[in-house]
Structures are given as C-alpha cells and as structure tokens.
Symmetry: C2
Subunit: 441 residues, 2 copies
C-alpha cells in the first residue's frame, strides 16, 4: 500500500451517470479532498465500453480503457470504485480487485446482495476495505449507520421506501388519481423508470437493497430470493381514494423484521400506511428508511434514493473514508466499517414464508349491488377466523348493477386471508376480487 | 495499547441516567459485543460522587470510585467514557485521559463545543480516538454522518430541532392551546425539563449542540457564544393558532448556514415552518436534523434526541467502533472518525450578526380597534423597505376596544424590521408589539 504523503490512485469501473459524477468529484475537488483526508487523490483510469463516446465530464483519452486488466493488474491502483451494476462481470472484477489487495468501493446492490458475505470475508482476510454505502438508499447514509453508529443496537425491524421509481408512480396515482399505466409512462418519459421497468415495479430492486440492509441489521445474510415481493401494477386510483378515506396512504414498503424465534421476515409489497406516519409523507423520488432498535428506538432517515449527485455523495463518502484511513495509519489499513459478523459468512437467516404473516388487510371487491351480499362475504371471512374492522360500499354503478366493497380486517393470518378470499371470489354475487393490500400500522 | 485478543478495559466517568444505561449495556451484552467487535470488553471502574447511592444497575462496590485518579492514572484502562456533563471538571479529565494515550468517548456537548478543536488535535497527536456521537442529537446518528458518510459534501446548511424539552412544550402549546407556563410546568412534572429550565428554553443547550454540528459540517470551529439565541417564552397559544391559519407550525430551530462569502450564520430561535415540511411534523420529545449538501441534497434524520436508551445507543456505538478498530489493527489504532480539519484547530468561522439576516417575518400586535390603524403601520413598514405579504385582524375585544393584528412580510433585513417595529410600538394606536417570529420556508 502506498506510504503516507504519496498520491492515492483511484480507478473507476463504469463511467455512466454515477461514474461521471464520481469522476467529476475526483477531478474537481482535489483541494477539498486533501483538506478533508490529508492525502492527494488521482483518478488513474476508468473502464468504459466505448472510449469514443462523448462524456460529462470529458476525460483525457489516456484515462479511458476498455480492458479491465489495465485496472485489475495495475499494482499502482490503491482503490477500485465499481459502478457498472449487475452481478456479472462486476462481481468477479470486485473479487479480483480485493484478492489483489486493493480497497474497493461499490454501488452495486446486486453484487452485495448475492456475494456480500464472501466478498467481505475476502476483504477481511486481505485487510482491505470494502465499502458499499451507495448500494442501498442512494444518498441516504443508512448503510454506514447500520454498520457503525447503530452498531450497539439489537435491530428489531427495518421499514423502508427504497425504490424511487415506484414511489414516484404511487405519488402520482395518489395525488392526481392517475391510472398506473399512465403514471408509469410519465415516469419513463422523465427518466425515472427504465424502458423495461420490471425490476422497479415488481419489487426486485427493493429486494436487493433490503437484502443488503437486512443482512447488516441482523448480522446474518438474507438472500434476496428469500424475500417475498409483490409489485404495484394491480393498484388502481380508487384504492388510493378509499385508503385516504380510511386515513391511510399507499406506499410500496420493503420490510424486514427480526421475529422472536430468531427468524427474519422480509418482504416488499404495497401497504396502507397511516397518513400521519412520516413514511406516508415520503413523496416522489425521495426514499426513507425507518430503523427500530432496542436502544435507539425508532429512527427515520429521509433523502434522495437515487440520482447522479446523491449517489456520488455516497460513493465519494466511502472513497474519502478509505483515503483518510490510509493517511492515518502506516501499518495495515484499518477496517472501521467492515461488519465482522456479516463477513464471517454466518448462517443464513431463516426467513418465514409470507403465508405465516400476521397482518391487517384492506380488500376491494366488485360485487352485485343487491341485498345479502355482505352477509355471504362476512360468513366466509368469519369462518376463516378473519375479523372485519370496517366495511365501505362505494361507487354503485346502476348500469352494471355492481358496487365496490372495501373491507378492512383486524390482524389475521395471511394464509387464512388468501384462502377465504379465493372462496369469496367464487361467490356468484362477487364479480371480481380487485385487490388485497396489507396494512402497516 | 492492549494487544489483540486481550480484554478491552473500559472505565466510566459519571453514572447517572446515561451512565447507568452504558454500564448495563457493557455488563449485559458481553456476547453480542464480542460477536460484533471481535473483542471482549470489561467494565473496569466507574467514577461517582457517592458510592453508597442505590443505582440501576447496581454495580459491585469494588467497581465504584470517587477518585478520578483511579481511572486517569490506571495504565490498564483502554477507553474512558465521560458522561458527567458540564465543562468542569469533565473537560480536564478528558484532556488528561487523551494525554495518557487512552481512547475517549464523550456525551458532553459543552466540552465538545468549548474544547473540541484542541481535544481533537491532542487525540490526533496521541493517535487515539475521541468520539462524541451522543453530544448532539441523542440517538440520532448525525455526528457520525457529518464526520463520515457525508464527508464528500460541501455542506450548505443545517436546520434542526435538537432540544426535546422545547419541542415538547411547543407541541403541547400547538395541540392543546396550553399557555407557555403551564406547558413548562407539565414538562417539568414529566421529567422532560429541569427545575431551572433556562438552558433548554432559552436555546443555550441547542446552541452548544449546533456549535458541535456546525463545526463538523463546515470544518471550522463555531463557538457557541457566537450563535444568536432566542427563547420560546414569549410564544402564546394564539401565535400557534394564527400560524396554523397561515399554514405554518412553530418550532424552535437551530440553524447554521454557510454563506457565499465564506461566513457562517448560526442561530437558535422560534420559527414558522410550513406545515407540510417534515420539520413541522417532529412532535414531542423527538428531534430531527436536516442537512443540505451539494451532492446529497436534503437529508433529514429523525429520532429520539435524549433519554437513557437513545443516548446509550450513541455512546455504545462509539465504544464498539473503537473496540472493533482495536481488534482490526495491531499497529497504532486507526482514527477513522477524527475530522482532520476541525482537529487542526483551524480559524474560527466568521459568524454574521443576526442584524444582517434576510428573512420573512410574522409579527403580532395588539392595536386599537379603529379605522386607519393599518395605514399607519403599513406606512412605517413601507418606509423601512419591508413588504407586507398578509394581514389578518383577529380577536376583536369590544371591552378594551382592541384587536390582534397579525402581519407577515416578504424577506426583509432583520435590522430594518427591528427598527420599524420599534417605531410601530410607539404609535398611539398600538397597545403592544406581542411577538416577532422569523419564517423559515
């Protein structure tokens, strides 16, 4: 490792939106970085797919390479910053960089979710830093808080809004009563959603992030594919209207809870949130994470979950902390932020299936507008041990002879609710079961 | 320093509410601490005033001492945790502990505000950690965020609610229209306010905390006595009622802003906050800190600003991070969280006087209920370059022939507003100038 007072060489893998922001920060803020860390940094090289593409900022041609070996095999590179995204080839590049004794910063939720434990173990063995603040929550400093400031806590739960695309769409649907398809198209037009929006709207992106946060919080790996996910495409403007009447907003939440039996319950799905809760007030592309610990109680962090500048804040924060650590130690570099337990690759957290969830529910049905309908539905719910909390009949349509029935329940077992709702759907007086949404108090 | 794999000895100075929480965490969570840090910790001794006083948790008599030398001169003590509060003698104890090569954790806002730069410089010289997460914001991890995760940012401003006592009182006044004196008495009865509440209600406590946060954010010491403070005792229930009609809550804010000319503007005072802003929704004893940086944009951290458990979360987080650092390095201990610039004891931040502030204002006057009054007042304000935004006449009292006049202004210069308001107060038709409150958009 470079001795004190020499320049720290940093190479980037990926020079897209975030990579460009990091390159600009490294090149434009040299004085501030020197002041904050005690060391001078230099952008040594950046891995790109196409060296001829115009970029902001534009880099001298000599700094661009299409060959990862130029970075991974360069003994002068102290820190590799990976901003390519996706598991392959980024994951193996990170592994090779760490194996070569380089410090690593990554913004890659998928790699940290799939390979975090093994990469952290390798980093600990090689006595290098692996930091990943930008992998969940964008500019919100939640990763570092879980690893460092909140370390003394026994974390009980995380409830979060960690996908800006879905939150933008839900905010539009709630405020302007925009149908889902229109809100999605608008998000795509504004660049908030990709042309294939599946990862965002089906909760896959949030599951990767929740996997990263939950693993840090509970000190055990939580594989992303053990997380129950449910998308937002079934939500309709009337759900937001009825929810508001009941005193709730609808948000897509990523939730991980440590159960008393030692298992973890992790899930991503739309939920009704009381409108006076701070999570209900997270609007547009903003994100928020609520952490509940035995000592700290309930903490909420709110900020920008994506975007060039906010993500650059997280990546550069990691970079500067590594550079400062290099400046402060002549011996092996410190590992201030490596969670020792997660990196031990401890046993996977057992994850309870969604069937066993106990939750209150909101259900919306389209029924025949005639006497006795509610009695039949209530009978089925009662037989299934599901207690009704409220019933609202809405939007009677004389043309079709139907009405909307909105029912909320007291906490019930998910499997019981699903079974009962299938039976309800088979009633001749029920035209359709439109939606079932969990209620988070 | 103790080599790897040996027990880390921790001694406490102060064993009150927070000290008791830290002692309980050290004694009760040994397994979890070992798992999280890789090292075993031992509570070696605790400095108290009276060894015979009953305590929760109760400590073996041998662990208690009334003599600070027992801790400061003990070569086996690795970490000193100071929770006595106040500048003297805590400040000199901390200095001696650092000089003796011990790592130090403190919850002391006054010491960190008054002596932070010199103590941090000494810690850097001695290559030990000085961590102080609990000195501002209680259980909210804002100190570490400013030092670590947000390090890459050029921080532009901090706006915060960092005194739970005043926020509890203001919440009572707003919700139940309780007069100030009654809300204060209730806060005292519940243990949220001390018998002499001056430090809290006059903004002195918040100024110490803002001094700590501002110094970290702007990388220059901001002395607490350079911070303008204004208490909450002039607020009346009708101010909350009128503010609500205008769409605002009233909160006591601690604000530090980096001005374009390099100066800092730091102040603690009641302010009207738009009711849809998250700061307006911080209720009771909760605290919140909003940080605006060039990269991260606006981040808000919300949580418990005081109390035994929340403060223990912050203190023990610092302790565990030091212990983990010791476990990860055989050489000199790392200094991951020591802000190099603040510890250099750089030049004081120039602080603009409040006179030069540009702000919108809310003013409440008691006037004669007769024609032409507003014209006279508007004339004086207009002559003072103050543009009126709204006027509401309220609570006409036929008995005294008076009415309440509530005026809000567009942004104006504080000195101009103060001068004009003195002239308004001298009008024969003005019975009293009841309040002048700044508006924060």
């Amino acid at each position: 490792m470079a001795p004190r007072n020499t320049t720290v060489n940093i190479s980037l893998m990926g020079l897209g939106t975030v990579g460009g922001g990091v390159a600009a920060a490294l090149m434009g803020n040299a004085d501030a970085i020197k002041r904050k860390t005690g060391r001078t940094v230099r952008l040594k090289q950046a891995l790109v797919r196409d060296v001829s593409r115009p970029r902001d900022p534009s880099l001298p041609a000599g700094l661009l390479t299409t060959n990862p070996e130029d970075i991974l095999s360069d003994p002068d590179v102290d820190i590799v910053v990976e901003m390519m995204g996706g598991d392959s080839p980024a994951g193996s590049y990170l592994e090779r960089a760490i194996a070569a004794g380089k410090h690593v910063v990554t913004a890659n939720k998928e790699v940290m979710s799939r390979r975090g434990p093994s990469l952290l173990a390798l980093a600990q063995e090689k006595r290098v830093n692996l930091l990943f603040e930008a992998s969940a929550g964008g500019g919100i400093p939640i990763v570092g808080c879980l690893m460092s400031q909140l370390l003394a806590n026994d974390i009980r739960s995380i409830r979060s809004i960690i996908n800006g695309t879905t939150n933008y769409i839900l905010t539009r649907m709630a405020r302007q009563q925009t149908p889902f398809a229109d809100a999605l198209a608008e998000a795509q037009a504004r660049g908030y959603a990709e042309s294939d929006p599946t990862n965002d709207i089906e909760g896959i992106d949030a599951a990767y992030k929740l996997s990263v946060l939950g693993s840090l919080a509970f000190h055990r790996p939580i594989p992303h594919d053990s997380i129950y996910t449910e998308g937002i495409s079934r939500l309709a403007p009337e759900d937001f209207r009825y929810a508001a009447e009941l005193g709730y907003a609808i948000k897509s939440l990523a939730i991980a809870v440590a159960e008393d039996d030692g298992a973890v319950r992790a899930r991503v799905h739309p939920a009704l949130v009381p409108e006076d809760h701070l999570l209900a007030k997270v609007d547009g592309v903003y994100n928020a994470v609520e952490v509940t610990g035995d000592l700290c109680g309930q903490i909420i962090l709110h900020g920008q979950g994506a975007g060039r500048e906010a993500t650059t804040s997280a990546v550069m924060g990691d970079v500067l902390n590594i550079v400062r650590g290099l400046a402060n130690s002549e011996g092996p570099p410190p590992l201030p932020d490596t969670p020792s337990v997660a990196s031990n690759g401890g046993p996977l957290a057992p994850v309870h299936p969604i069937d066993e969830l106990s939750s209150a529910y909101y259900m919306r049905l389209t029924c025949a507008d005639q006497a006795g309908v509610l009695a039949q539905i209530a009978q089925i719910l009662g037989d299934g041990n599901i207690s009704i909390a409220t019933v609202i009949q809405k939007d009677t349509d004389p043309g079709s002879g139907t009405a909307q029935l909105v029912i909320t329940t007291y906490p019930s077992r998910e499997a019981d609710v699903q079974t009962a709702l299938r039976a309800v759907g088979e009633l001749s007086v029920v035209v359709s079961v439109n939606n079932l949404i969990r209620i988070e108090e």
